[in-house]
Symmetry: C2
Subunit: 333 residues, 2 copies
Amino acid sequence: MKKFMNTAETMVAESVSGLVRAHEDIVAFGADGKCVRRRHLAPGKVGLVSGGGAGHEPMHIGFVGPGMLDAACIGHIFTSPTPGEIIAAIEEADTGAGCLLIVKNYDGDLMNFDMAIEMAAGRHRIDKVVVSDDIESERSGDGRGRRGVAGTLVVEKIIGAAAEQGLSIAELKRLADGLNGRIRTMGVALTGVTVPHTARATFTLNDGEIEMGVGIHGEPGHRREPFAASDTIVKQLSETILGDIIKQPGTNALLFVNGLGGTPPAELYLAYAAARRLFEERGVPIERSLVGTFVTSLDMQGLSVTLALLTDREVQLWDSSVTTPALRWSGPV
Amino acid sequence: MKKFMNTAETMVAESVSGLVRAHEDIVAFGADGKCVRRRHLAPGKVGLVSGGGAGHEPMHIGFVGPGMLDAACIGHIFTSPTPGEIIAAIEEADTGAGCLLIVKNYDGDLMNFDMAIEMAAGRHRIDKVVVSDDIESERSGDGRGRRGVAGTLVVEKIIGAAAEQGLSIAELKRLADGLNGRIRTMGVALTGVTVPHTARATFTLNDGEIEMGVGIHGEPGHRREPFAASDTIVKQLSETILGDIIKQPGTNALLFVNGLGGTPPAELYLAYAAARRLFEERGVPIERSLVGTFVTSLDMQGLSVTLALLTDREVQLWDSSVTTPALRWSGPV
């Protein structure tokens, strides 16, 4: 396990502090360093808060800034933030119009975010949306439904833009719930992932194996398969997605190829080309694209393919300006 | 060697085509697919052209767009583009004011870019600048001077912004030559790199070793050392830089921590925090920052630290809007 780290105990805090310092024009630590918030909040708009375990950087703290989140909190690696940290983020983000929490569908996160809501409800108007885009985790049949993975970025971007427009908590929640139902993700790993605290791999793969359907916490997928050409792997991911969601008329497809940490940009673009070709051959023209390393599983080599079917309004929200450490654009060229 | 690829022969073309498709609002293929150009050129300004071997993505094609390059060409992996490909990029980029070529200091690149200049000089006004920021390669004492590595991004961004302002070829060259002298980079690898065509590693490292001073073509560095804490590694990189360049009064420090391909964002930010602290302790306050995977060596795990000492004018040019596939911002928040 060779990583750029000093100790397992300090690595999350050191990395977060690097991100905050590198982007101090956009973000700042909240009180007592319990969360990361926008440097300049926009009073009067609903505060958007997210958070989750560390190990997925730049998500979520890299998505704090104008056009996206107002605050985010970070737990230990692959571990939900505490209710206290979540409340700290709510305190920072609520400038009067209340907060919407964006939570990934995991038991630990749901428990802690719900506890925070209960504890903060007397002082803040709060609601939550749960993101659940990972097809594989539903197929495992544990009854917990789809987990939240890379599609979380899509929800945070689009709801972030809608919040800037002044929508209420209820309106944002309705928009987010509708959108979440139209996002699907499938991931694949070429390597397992080693958790620094235990220095133990959550699963290991030999040179000839890949793991189909991995999550972002080093969870194994549903099947170990022989390593194959990229087109073969991507075809399987894309076909699984097309088998789980049908493009309705009037929706626009966003294709997001996400690196899981150790996969270089050139390989992500190569996989994107194949995914795009496959979706388009199957009657799903791609209207918007994102390729990059945004939702990671430490240094895992692997990627996920996300298809999001957006309404015209959601496309406009996707296109609108965003200025965060990790996602940054300013509308059409 | 597990990579997302189909065949070694097709991987560069497939990856480039993915990048162009994903960003078709910004870039397009030039005639015969010999280069990548801006979709919308800006007639009347000097055309900025760069290029080099593949394997460093997103550099250079990811830097094509408003505020940066006009066209870039890509050779085979770690191999200069041909004079014909370079001329194709010049043809695309010259809208009347001529072209400035930005070339990394490698024998192969210099030879082919010079040949292209000679062949195209009858039809185009052309000059070139050579980027040379890699401290280690000079220390090897082969007489070729510093090679061009991650600092190339800094030159392309700042000269790109200056070109948008209407500067002439001579003015841009003067600016670029001055700037290049104030940029230094040092890299480190945790793993070697495997070239797909040969399926052979250019060097290999065992679990307890790192390679200090690596280039971006899998060249070994000057010394193999025991794997150590990130702060120890980063300190060595940063001190080597401070031993090679002195901050003059009136300059502003840009710190750029660049991933070499297989290093996740969280580790880059952790290294950034240490580098920043070290430079600031040594009297070099950091005024601008960039952290990300921009100039790669295939899937190598490693990073480089670049320090660029910018004039006030160069800081303004750095800050100005840029819209490319890999680098995108729109001025102050």
